[in-house]
């Protein structure tokens, strides 16, 4: 299958739902090893993003991603704002020119998103940041030739869970050094919601 405009809209909406539902949980995770605002930041940003996408009409997935990118960039703030914003902007650019998005194109989009995240944040996989979810997801996408909802959900989930045992090198949690071990990375949890929502959309779309 290919990602159509409606899929992309549903993706953002589902992501927002999960983030609103888990807003306090995300903030609590961030309180443990950061400054406690991750849920607030993401909830503010995705609420606005959905406000934007539901009040506009689109003919391409790329445009949706672009609006999401711009909204996140200007509404989230903190570390996650530029990172999620950059991710969506890079995905928007990678899938530009076609109305819907093939698995191959999407995979390319995620790859570009990761490059953008790395360029901005200077982190690498294993630093206990959202890259620890994005990178395994990319590897999984690259190993497959079509969207596979279940493995997407599973990959993202186990990647998210394994951030718990890692010591933070980048982000605010890095100040805690060893004390950051034993806590999930909040940005990885929100990234898990993002990919889990995509998995749900893919399932519905089948």
């Amino acid at each position: 299958m290919e990602l159509q405009v409606q899929h992309a809209l549903n993706w953002i909406e589902k992501t927002n739902e999960k983030i609103q539902t888990n807003k306090d949980y995300l903030s609590a995770l961030d309180r443990a090893i950061g400054d406690g605002d991750h849920g607030l930041n993401m909830a503010r940003g995705f609420q606005e993003a959905v406000g934007k996408t539901t009040s506009s009409s689109y003919t391409s997935v790329s445009d949706i991603f672009k609006d999401v990118a711009m909204t996140l960039m200007s509404k989230v703030g903190g570390a996650s704002g530029p990172l999620y914003g950059t991710a969506f902007l890079k995905m928007s650019m990678a899938v530009k020119g076609e109305d819907s998005v093939s698995h191959e194109r999407f995979t390319k989009g995620v790859e570009e998103a990761i490059n953008g995240i790395i360029q901005r944040g200077k982190a690498k996989e294993g630093d206990k940041t959202l890259l620890d979810v994005w990178t395994p997801v990319l590897r999984m996408l690259q190993e497959q030739s079509d969207f596979e909802a279940d493995s997407l959900e599973n990959t993202a989930k186990s990647a998210m869970e394994s951030t718990k045992d890692v010591m933070a090198i980048k982000g605010r949690a890095a100040y805690l050094k060893e004390r950051s071990i034993g806590h999930l990375d909040p940005g990885s949890v929100s990234s898990y919601y993002l990919f889990a929502s995509l998995a749900e959309v893919l399932k519905e779309g089948e």
Partner: protein, 331 residues
């Protein structure tokens, strides 16, 4: 959570309105932004100074806007770095043709958002330079990690770079002196109690009655160690020693001292800490040129303090002494 607020989601907006109401001749909010700027911004042919960060650090950063200090401060949500578009608005608002200088505290979010704004401004042909302040010796300075945080020492950067810009310094000169301050300022903090982000409603951490947190940031992040609460002298000793160990201070050196309250520490206690800091410096033959005791860079209603030392030379002394009309830093 007990706070004197209206709506937890409107605290920044309400605060900025109340601030500009208090200083209508000196400050303005750039319309439809969270940028507080000098009333007379942009000042033509003067380097424009922009700083900012999450809210909740008051009087930082808007309290340092004024002649001789910042031209604009960008306010993010509480403890959340402002977004690039807001920083960009600030840059545009203070660009008087001599370029704009950004004072950024070293947090991933701040660095990224300010840099993106700088890229936007550069694309519009505005000359932008920056310094990243990382005075917090509680955190290891490593290029492999996020590096040290920027905390209360940042106020010295505002003051000194601001004075340089006010005196007509070029963008390069302002940058050079700001880097000199960053190279010579070190800080460390501790907390007795946490703070509560209004929209979150939960305290940032929980300390037992006999505990203190050492090596605090200014966002309610946990510090580097949790210990049994100590006396003022012991606390001052620990913070100051860590600062002294970090860069070379020699007998005869002159320093500026800042004993900064994090929000709910009575000034009485800050002065008690200051007494010990001065005694330690005197023991080492380090001369105190000027002392600042009070709330300069807070963490909402956190109880605790930080100690900053800035090693001075003639240029820094002169700029530190120069006039400032910022509401929170009159000299």
């Amino acid at each position: 959570m007990k706070k004197i607020i209206n709506d937890p989601n409107l605290v920044v907006q309400d605060m900025l309105a109340g601030m500009v109401a208090a200083f209508p001749n000196d400050l303005k909010v750039v319309p439809n932004t969270t940028v507080v700027a000098r009333k007379d911004a942009p000042v033509s042919n003067k380097v424009g100074l922009v700083s900012g960060g999450g809210s909740g650090h008051e009087p930082a950063h808007a309290g340092y806007v004024g002649q001789g200090m910042l031209d604009a401060a960008v306010a993010g949500e509480v403890f959340t770095s402002p977004t690039p578009d807001q920083v960009y608005e600030a840059i545009k608002a203070v660009d008087g043709g001599a370029g704009v200088f950004l004072v950024i505290k070293n947090y991933t979010g701040d660095v990224m958002n300010f840099e993106m704004a700088a890229e936007m401004a550069a694309a519009e042909g505005i000359n932008v330079e920056q310094v990243v302040v990382n005075d917090d010796v509680a955190v290891e300075d490593s290029s492999f990690t996020t590096g040290r945080r920027g905390i209360a020492g940042t106020v010295f950067v505002h003051k000194i770079a601001g004075a340089k810009a006010e005196a007509g310094g070029s963008l390069e000169e302002v940058k050079a002196v700001a880097e000199k301050v960053v190279a010579n300022v070190r800080s460390m903090g501790m907390a007795l109690s946490p703070c509560t982000v209004p929209a979150a409603g939960e305290p940032s951490f929980v300390l037992a009655d006999n505990e203190m947190e050492v090596g605090m940031g200014i966002h309610g992040e946990p510090g580097i160690a949790r210990k049994e609460i100590a006396t003022a002298d012991e606390i001052a000793q620990e913070l100051t020693q860590k600062v002294l160990d970090d860069i070379e201070f020699n007998s005869g050196d002159e320093v500026a001292v800042m004993v900064n309250g994090l929000g709910s520490t009575p000034e009485m206690e800050l002065f008690i800490v200051n007494k010990k800091v001065h005694a330690m410096l005197a023991d080492r033959g380090i001369k105190v040129y000027k002392t600042f005791v009070g709330e300069y860079m807070t963490s909402l209603e956190m109880a605790g303090c930080s100690v900053s030392l800035l090693k001075l030379d003639e240029e820094l002394k002169e700029l530190l002494d120069a006039e400032s009309k910022a509401p929170a830093f009159r000299s």
